[in-house]
Amino acid sequence: MADKHGRSCERGGLIAAKRIAGAAQYISKGGFVKRRFMLLGMLIGFALAGMTPARSVKAQAAPRRIEVTAKRFAFDPGEITVKKGQPVVLVLHGKDAAHGLRFRELNVDVKVSAGGTSEVQFTPDKTGDFVGHCSVFCGSGHGGMMLTLHVVD
């Protein structure tokens, strides 16, 4: 049932369009009973259509873009504060060598080539301080290359 309902939600827009087209046919025929069906149809159509935009508006909420530069042996900036539940796009620029940035606890890992740019989107779902490390071995200071992510309410 849930699956069927889910699908009908996704097709809400299409169904609404069909209903409205159907309603237009009824209007042209001018029947009173048919008009009641038309109204019902439109109501259902709008109700279903109403669900679809609600979803797309949520998906369109622009995530916060944060630019980070990775260079032997530090990230710039070295600390970032983000909000719990707010989508984040980390844009990683590799300067001198291939680097990576991994937050084990957040299940986030992004790798970048020398001179390249990569990005990863995620939504932090818990508060706290998380330390991300370089995830591509880059030399003698690799182990100390880290970035602290503060996730606040």
Binding site: F137, S140, G143, G144
Partner: protein, 156 residues
């Protein structure tokens, strides 16, 4: 005046003789192994914060492959390492009892600080804590000897 060349020869011979790297005697090995396990290598009680599972093992294998393989081979059993037997003390098999009888905390301590005066260097700063702990998991479940091939650096 004749004494000077004799003296010089003696000093040079002594110097060269002293530099010769003989394999350590049994008593020497036993004593040093005991001392390392019970005195020098600290951090006996620290637990590995990472779960011992397949994901961590893969991380450990990856981290091991950057740095450790040049002396220990991909398998931790010296496969393909040309000088493994030629240095003193020789590089131990990481599957050996001598190594495996360390606690996880002690293995981490060795990875951090190295074992002086053997050739084992410390990796603190070169590898992150996360990577070092994942290597400890890899060390506990090393693949069969020879199964991982020869490190890249020795194949060219």
């Amino acid at each position: 005046m004749r004494r000077i060349p004799i003296l010089a020869t003696a000093i040079v011979s002594l110097g060269l003789g002293g530099c010769k790297a003989d394999p350590p005697w049994k008593v020497e090995t036993k004593t040093v192994t005991f001392a390392k396990h019970h005195v020098f290598v600290r951090n006996k009680d620290q637990r590995n914060p990472l779960p011992s599972n397949a994901d961590t093992w893969v991380d450990g294998k990856e981290a091991f492959s950057h740095y450790c393989v040049s002396c220990h081979g991909m398998d931790g059993q010296n496969t393909g390492v040309p000088f493994a037997d030629h240095i003193s003390p020789p590089i131990p098999l990481l599957t050996s009892k001598e190594v495996q009888s360390y606690t996880d905390g002690q293995l981490k301590w060795i990875l951090d600080n190295g074992v002086s005066p053997s050739g084992m260097p410390g990796s603190k700063g070169t590898l992150s804590d996360d990577e070092l702990w994942s290597i400890v998991v890899y060390l506990r479940h090393l693949p069969p000897s020879g199964s991982q091939g020869v490190p890249d650096m020795y194949t060219h």
